[in-house]
Subunit: 148 residues, 2 copies
DNA sequence: ACCATTTAGTTAGCCGGCTAACTAAAAGCT
DNA sequence: AGCTTTTAGTTAGCCGGCTAACTAAATGGT
């Protein structure tokens, strides 16, 4: 018996951490009527409003159909607005509404709270190390998916 | 302009790493006809065949309806078999088929390969540190969801 | 013995993801 | 100009997740 060898792998633990973290963030975001994943769209728009749909997909690292559906829902919630791109009739640009802008503070707070839970009991040193390692690992994954 | 502050947070980076990692594993598993997530069910069964549905849900940290649907699909693929539990008429037990058992090697290989990509260019020391930190973080997340 | 309560799974329906196949507009080539 | 190719988004449909509401069997209290 004993546990399966795969369970001891770093990748396996990472997958479990991800799942838990996503659930954690999702729980906090739900209080603001958001589903986990949608906040990523908002972050990009808070950073630069008026992006085109395709640009959003690239920045989120997501396929176009995902953006189509998410925007439909975010628009339905009145957080976002789609306006045609004057310079390209196939395209559109996404703008935050007042409600969408108003979520910046609360959602940022959710991220901060969830991060405090994530790193609870860890010192500055470990936190920095963890962050650095995550950034390196992210670079690995990005470059390997780009190489395809 | 500059990037939004949320993007600099450890939790944000973690979310991105997760997404990329999941995609990475998913790509490898697809070669064996599996969707990412399904392999978790198989891991539990390789470890202890004949689990009840509810027990599977607990081990995967997933809600019962998720198990219902996944098992229906895995059964449809012929990887798994559901037999009634003789001691409880509401319950059933899940058993691997020969095909399900045959996937153990290949799927383990997928995890190993994806882990090599994940940790590429990192030394033993960093790998160990990263693993330890992930385990601690996982403990944090588990305990906070259990406290609810 | 009986009824209320808890427990095990299912169904329906939503959301974030994906791929495949499509439409329509823009860009390029001749 | 006219035709081909590329690009931008959409639709349909699948999968892993979730919640809410339900069925049916086991358990517990009296």
């Amino acid at each position: 018996m004993g546990t399966h060898p795969v369970k001891g792998r770093t990748g396996f633990t990472l997958a479990k951490v991800c799942k838990a973290h996503r659930g954690n963030v999702g729980e906090l975001l739900a209080a603001h009527g958001l589903h986990v994943g949608q906040e990523m769209v908002l972050v990009e728009l808070w950073e630069s409003d008026g992006l085109r749909g395709g640009e959003l997909a690239v920045r989120l690292g997501v396929e176009p159909p995902t953006i189509t559906k998410m925007l439909r829902r975010l628009e339905g919630c009145g957080l976002v607005e789609r306006r045609p791109d004057p310079s390209d009739a196939r395209s559109f640009r996404v703008y935050l509404t007042d409600d969408g802008r108003a979520l910046e503070g609360p959602v940022t707070g959710c991220w901060e709270l969830s991060e405090e839970r994530l790193l609870a009991g860890m010192g500055e040193e470990d936190r920095r190390t963890f962050h650095e390692l995550l950034v390196r690992v992210r670079g690995n994954l990005d470059s390997c998916s780009a190489a395809e």
